[in-house]
């Protein structure tokens, strides 16, 4: 399972995950109160500039991650233009771009293990028992392991469908697909139990 963490090393990779996440929360909260097109544009420019120490290839990677946001931004802008509230629309759009680009920067430069560590430490500080924390860690590992496995099994189902009919595979495949997931869950539970189970 590939995470979104960038393999291009940047200075931010060395920063500890906890403060990075805290900083991001503060930033996201602050820009929500940001007003005025000039200020909003300056903040967006600053966030974009923050990608540059990672190099051009890294910046391009960040821009690619923003692609799905752009059509939504376009819809919002067209709507505001249509009702004649251009300034308001520009602020909303810039605020969104700044928040998402900043969050993506944290995602791109923080390893999954470090994120998980922050969560484990946070939960420990909140007094969550070690048993619960271990269960959480195991569930995370199971999802990461089984997502590609299920995707592959789904692919086999589609092939089996195509071998039998020229019709396009549709919702009918969801039932056998869910059955595969349920059976895998049962087998994995048996295997866990056979190895001493969860304590």
């Amino acid at each position: 399972m590939i995470s979104l963490t960038s393999d291009i090393r940047t200075p931010y990779h060395a920063w500890p995950a906890g403060p990075k996440l805290l900083g991001l929360s503060g930033f996201t909260l602050a820009i929500f109160y940001m007003d005025g097109v000039a200020l909003s544009a300056a903040v967006v420019a600053a966030v974009c500039a923050a990608y540059l120490p990672g190099g051009l290839r890294f910046t391009r990677q960040g821009a690619r991650l923003m692609r799905p946001v752009f059509w939504f931004v376009a819809v919002i802008m067209i709507w505001h233009l249509a009702v004649g509230r251009t300034t308001e629309g520009a602020v909303v759009v810039l605020r969104l771009i700044a928040a998402i680009a900043a969050a993506n920067l944290v995602t791109l430069t923080t390893r999954l293990e470090d994120m998980l560590d922050v969560i484990q430490r946070g939960l420990a500080r909140l007094g969550v028992s070690q048993r619960t924390r271990r269960k959480l860690a195991l569930s995370v590992a199971l999802v990461i392991r089984f997502t590609p496995v299920l995707t592959q099994k789904g692919g086999l189902l589609v092939q089996a469908w195509r071998a039998r009919t020229v019709k396009r595979p549709g919702w009918r495949l969801v039932l056998p697909f869910a059955l595969l997931a349920v059976d895998d869950a049962e087998h994995t539970a048996e295997a866990l139990k056979a190895r001493g189970g969860l304590h």
Binding site: F72, I76, A103, L142, I144, L175, A181
Partner: protein, 179 residues
């Protein structure tokens, strides 16, 4: 206990895997994204608690930076976007769907799980999603609701599918509903 944990994890993986399925379009031209169908199924099949936890686990992994949302999206950034209300609403929707589906489990058939999915996965989810959009876009609730309306017919069809699939699953694996 092991079974509950693996079912929660596997349904979280199922939501992720369904996100990779290309959108299929019904004859009416309404596009159906399989991922939200996965959210409904978590509730109708696993019930309130396990279904809600499966969706929370899925969202947790998305926040950690795994590209599990439809279209390969992920990272904390998606929680800052316009659809933030929908993402927060996912576990709530699965929980409400599950609570209703559990309550009506004895009645069998596909209608009751479909109605549970309609109330939890469409009504509750859209209320939270629309509130989220209104906050993010500085709009009134009515204006935000306008943006959500094109998806409602597809959502209703998804409820029927969720009902049919749940009925089939529970018939094939009757022990599934027991925690």
């Amino acid at each position: 206990m092991e079974r509950n944990l693996t079912l929660i994890a596997l349904f979280a993986a199922l939501i992720a895997a369904l996100g990779l399925v290309p959108k299929f379009t019904l004859m009416s031209g309404v596009p159906i994204s399989a991922q939200s169908l996965g959210i409904m199924l978590c509730g109708t099949v696993l019930g309130a608690k396990r279904g809600g936890l499966a969706v929370l686990l899925f969202l947790g992994l998305v926040a950690l930076g795994l590209p599990l949302l439809a279209g390969g999206r992920g990272g904390i950034g998606v929680f800052s976007g316009v659809t933030m209300g929908y993402l927060i609403g996912f576990p709530v929707a699965a929980f409400v769907t599950g609570a209703l589906a559990q309550m009506w489990r004895d009645r069998g058939g596909f209608v009751f799980p479909a109605v549970a999915a309609l109330i939890g996965g469409v009504v509750v989810l859209n209320v939270l999603g629309i509130v989220g959009m209104a906050i993010k876009l500085d709009k009134t609730l009515a204006e935000a609701a306008l943006l959500a309306t094109p998806f409602i017919p597809g959502d209703i069809l998804k409820c029927v599918l969720a009902g049919l699939i749940t009925q089939g699953l529970l018939k094939a694996r009757p022990g599934l509903a027991q925690a």
